[in-house]
Structures are given as C-alpha cells and as structure tokens.
C-alpha cells in the first residue's frame, strides 16, 4: 500500500517538472505510461496470472530536468509502479548534476542526491519501457523481485568521460545508502526481518566505440546490509521447545532467573558483484551479453544457549555457553545472451537465454533446506518481439519457457512448495510516451 509520506516527495518532483514552462529552453520533461498483461501456466507473475491473464502491471514515470546554470542541472523522476502485490510511488531519482570541467578531450562532474546505481548496460533505465526495449529485462541480472537491493542510492556519484578518435570512455564511481522499503526480506533468509546499515559502493567503466556499434563495460558492486529477524517468529517448534525448556527449568529449580537466550537472528551481509557487459551491433543485428559473479558473505553473531550445569542433576542450575556460527559464503553466477534482429525501425524480434544460480557450487540446489531445490536457479528461454507503432507508442510481447523459480516473487507466491519448477510465462506491454 502507498503511504502518504512516500507520495509527497514524488508529488513535489512532479510539480517541479510539470509547472509552467516559461523558460522552456532550459526545461525538459517527459512521461511514459506502460500497462502490462501477464499469463502463466504455473506460478504467479505480477499478480494472479495462473490460467487467466493478470493486468497487475502498471508503470507511470514522469521525469524532468532543469538546466539552471551553464554547468548545473537538477533532474528527477517520479515513478508509480504496480507489479502484483507491490504498489509503490517513489522518487526514482533526484540529483543535482554539476559538470565542473568540460573540454574536447574529457569532462568531469558529480551527481548529488538519489541516483540510479550505475551498473551493467540497463540498470539506470530499467523502469522505462522505451529504454529497456523489452517487456522484461533479463531477470538473472535485473531481477524485479530483488529490485530494491539494486535500484538506487542516496549519496554521491562522481563521473568522467574521455573522448578519443576510437570512442568514448565513461567512468562512474558512487557511494550511498540503499532504500529497502519494498523488499520482504533478504534473499535466502526468513522474510519479515528488518534492515539497517544498508550501503552500496558501485563503480563502472564503460567503453563505446566512436560509431556506437560496440559497447563494453565492467561494473563492480560492494553492498553491505545488516538484516535482523527472530527465528522464533518463523519456527513454531523452536518457540515451543524454548518454552518447554523454560518450564522444565522453572519446575525443577523454582525461582531461578531465566537466562537470556539468543538464537540466530541474521547478521551483517556483505555482497560483492562483478559484472562484465558486452554489446555489438551490425546494421540489422544487435548481440548482447552480460555475465555476473556474486560473492555473498554473512557474518553471524555468536549465539548463547542456556544449558544445565549438570545434565544428570537439573537442580544444579543453569549456565550458558557461547557457540560461534560459521560465516555463510555463497558464490552465485548469472548470465544472459541475447540476439536481436531489427527488420526496420518499426519491427524487431529477439531470442534470449538467461540463467542464474544462487550457488555455483550447488547449481541444482541439492543441499538446500526448507525450500524446493529448484528455487535456487532459473533458466529462461525467451522469444520476444517489439512493434513501434509510432515514435510514441510501443507494443512488446515475450514468451518465456522457464525452469526454476529463483527470481519468482515470494510475495505473489507465498508458499515456495506451492510453486512448480517448469513454467511458461507470456507477458505483453503497451507503452505510450509524451
């Protein structure tokens, strides 16, 4: 549900950019409306999509930019997004952009405020249909179900571009605080916990050849998050066990003070990602691929467990012992390959093979507990087409054949054991820009 406190800043951004354009020379604004439809044979995607179509995907973005000084600009975007169980209105980005040096060889500048995380080929424009040129971006790298962890941050971004006769180099370096309002829990952990200290350092170096036919980039993400939850909220037997132990102790040793009990409740999660991106275009064909390695390390605090001093003599009382919990290391892998054929400016079609593994040392999920083994991977073969009806209207459709549920939303599919491994997804979007 949408909170008023979230609508207000978005409305301020909107009013800023939709106010009378007296200085039209320096103002620019645009809006994009996208309505989607999704249909699945198994599992739910963007609402209740099983066997009958769901229309629970709407994206409305209004962005604008105001050049108030020869080298400084204010730009922002308000975004309304409804995707299945998630409905949100937000300030997608809002930055003060100052270019403090510009010459024929190079330029440098910075952005201050809420910026889109600069990684890969698509992240900054993932919520605008005309820029993603697809219904869904490859979910391996641009997952919608985990989008808050990857979308934007409040902080500072430094940028530089260098121009040569061969092409252009773009470098972005950023550090800021993430906004995790719409994520139900850290992936792989119980849902419903709370986040704190969520920061991301993101950098990218991108080269584009002089004719725009070749683009290549390396991006690095270093994110830290503290995620806290209480296991007793998620496991009734654990809760009952604790209560029984407590009752037993009280019964055997009346009046004893109950000792503090701590049990695993999350910890500091450090995540590193490295992404290699590559795109090459011929006159009619564009080939693109991106490959990502993810290194996730969870540092659990040590756990104290109450225990009887002497197991044979309960009246001897209680003590505690401290147990170190080993760090959890998980190395994930994701990649996609896509070929697009451009028939003419109106029509194009594409094929995509998109794969993600939570743990590249256990790709089939043989070692996972409490979740189906197919929830730790997803392999998606996609056929898609785009019809640019005119420069303002775009119709896009995709058919996905998927094995695995790694990026399936746990909000739209609350019980992981209720999902199926093999599923088909048909999605369509109609977009209008002005």
């Amino acid at each position: 549900m949408i909170k008023l406190s979230k609508i207000l800043p978005a409305l301020i951004v909107l009013s800023l950019f939709l106010s009378p354009l007296s200085a039209a020379e320096k103002w620019q604004y645009q809006a994009v409306l996208t309505q989607g439809m999704s249909l699945t044979d198994e599992n739910n995607f963007y609402g209740d999509s099983q066997d009958s179509p769901s229309f629970e995907f709407t994206e409305i973005s209004a962005s604008g930019s105001y050049q108030f000084h020869r080298s400084s600009r204010l730009s922002g975007q308000a975004l309304y997004r409804h995707a299945g169980a998630i409905e949100d209105i937000s300030v997608d980005y809002l930055v003060l952009d100052t270019q403090y040096y510009s010459s024929e060889q190079a330029l440098y500048g910075f952005r201050l405020g809420r910026y889109k995380l600069p990684f890969g080929l698509y992240n900054e424009t993932r919520d605008v249909a005309f820029a993603r040129q697809a219904v869904l971006l490859p979910q391996s790298l641009y997952s919608d179900s985990q989008r808050d962890l990857r979308i934007a941050a409040d902080g500072l971004l430094l940028y530089a571009s260098m121009f040569s006769q061969y092409g252009q180099w773009d470098i972005d370096l950023s550090y800021g605080k993430l906004n995790l309002d719409n994520i139900s829990g850290y992936p792989g952990f119980p849902k419903g916990g709370s986040f704190s200290d969520e920061y991301a350092a993101v950098g990218r170096i991108l080269f584009e050849s002089f004719d725009g036919s070749f683009r290549a980039a390396i991006s690095v993400i270093n994110a830290t998050v503290n995620y806290q939850f209480d296991l007793r909220d998620f496991d009734e037997t654990l809760d009952q066990g604790m209560a029984q132990l407590d009752a037993l102790i009280q019964q055997l040793n009346p009046g004893v003070e109950t000792l503090p009990i701590t049990i695993p409740t999350g910890g500091d999660i450090e995540e590193q990602q490295i992404i290699a991106s590559f795109e090459y275009s011929w006159e009619k064909i564009t080939f693109s691929t991106e490959y990502r390695l993810t290194f996730t390390k969870t540092l659990f605090p040590s756990v104290t467990i109450p225990t009887l001093v002497d197991p044979m003599d309960p009246t001897a009382g209680l003590t505690t012992f401290s147990q170190e919990i080993p760090n959890l290391d998980l190395d994930g892998e994701a990649y996609y390959l896509q070929g697009k054929y451009i028939f003419n400016p109106q029509w194009s079609a594409y094929l995509r093979w998109d794969v993600v593994y939570d743990n590249k040392d256990d790709k089939n999920g043989d070692g996972v507990l409490n979740t189906p083994n197919y929830s730790v991977y997803a392999k998606d073969f996609t056929v898609g087409g785009i019809w640019n009806i005119n420069p303002q209207i775009m119709l896009a459709a995709e058919l996905h054949q998927i094995k695995g549920t790694q990026w399936l939303s746990t909000i739209d599919n609350p019980d992981p054991f209720d999902t199926k491994e093999k599923w088909k997804l048909f999605v369509m979007t109609l977009s209008y820009r002005f």
């Binding site: 620019q28 645009q30 994009v32 973005s61 962005s63 930019s65 050049q67 020869r70 080298s71 600009r73 730009s75 922002g76 975007q77 980005y93 930055v95 952009d97 270019q99 510009s102 010459s103 024929e104 330029l107 889109k116 900054e124 424009t125 605008v128 005309f130 820029a131 040129q133 571009s161 121009f163 040569s164 006769q165 252009q168 584009e208 002089f210 004719d211 725009g212 036919s213 275009s281 006159e283 451009i342 400016p345 420069p391």
Partner: protein, 117 residues
Amino acid sequence: MLVTHPSTPDRTLKFQTLRAIYSMRMQTWPDGDPIRVFVLPDTYQAHKDFCKTLLKTLPRHLRRNWDRLVFSGIAQAPSAVNSTTEMKQKIANTPGAIGYIPREEIDDTVVIVHIDS
C-alpha cells in the same frame, strides 16, 4: 552540411568533438557557452545522411543513447525540429546552436563548420 550560430567559436571541429556533442555528453563550447543541439526526426533522409556521413553511426544508436541519458536524468535530449527550414531559423536565432542543413539552403545567417578527421 554542419552549421552553427555565427557566434560559436569554432569553424572546424574534431570528429570526436562532434560525436561528444551529438551524444549529448559535451554540453558547453570551449568558451563556456552552452551548446544547443538540433536534430530532424529519425526517419528523415537528411537525418540518416547526417548520421551516416558525418557522425558515422546509425540513427537507432544515437536514439538509444539519448533515451538512456534522458530517462536516467544524465543529459537533456537534443531539440527536435520538423524541417530544414525550421532548423536553419532555430540555429540562426539561438546562440550556441549546432545543426545540419543542405548546402543549397545555407546563407549568411549561419556558419559552416568543417570536420577535421
């Protein structure tokens, strides 16, 4: 032919500078005045010719980059005009303007800029 407003400082541009200007990344002339970029619609032959012969790129690559920069707030889009006549008028009346018009339409309200490649 590439033309600019008479007040712009350069009569020749390096190819990479033209690219940087039309990719909307370079936003000021060497003297610090803002650059104002004008374009015709993607489907016009004059625009396709400009992309092919002067920028050595495809209109869709240019458009993709503009969309990427504009929707992410990194840069503003070039100003679109609907005819070469309008292009010439806008360039003549806008300090810092750059655009392209056929050779036969050029008069002394604008100046020709050569590419040094």
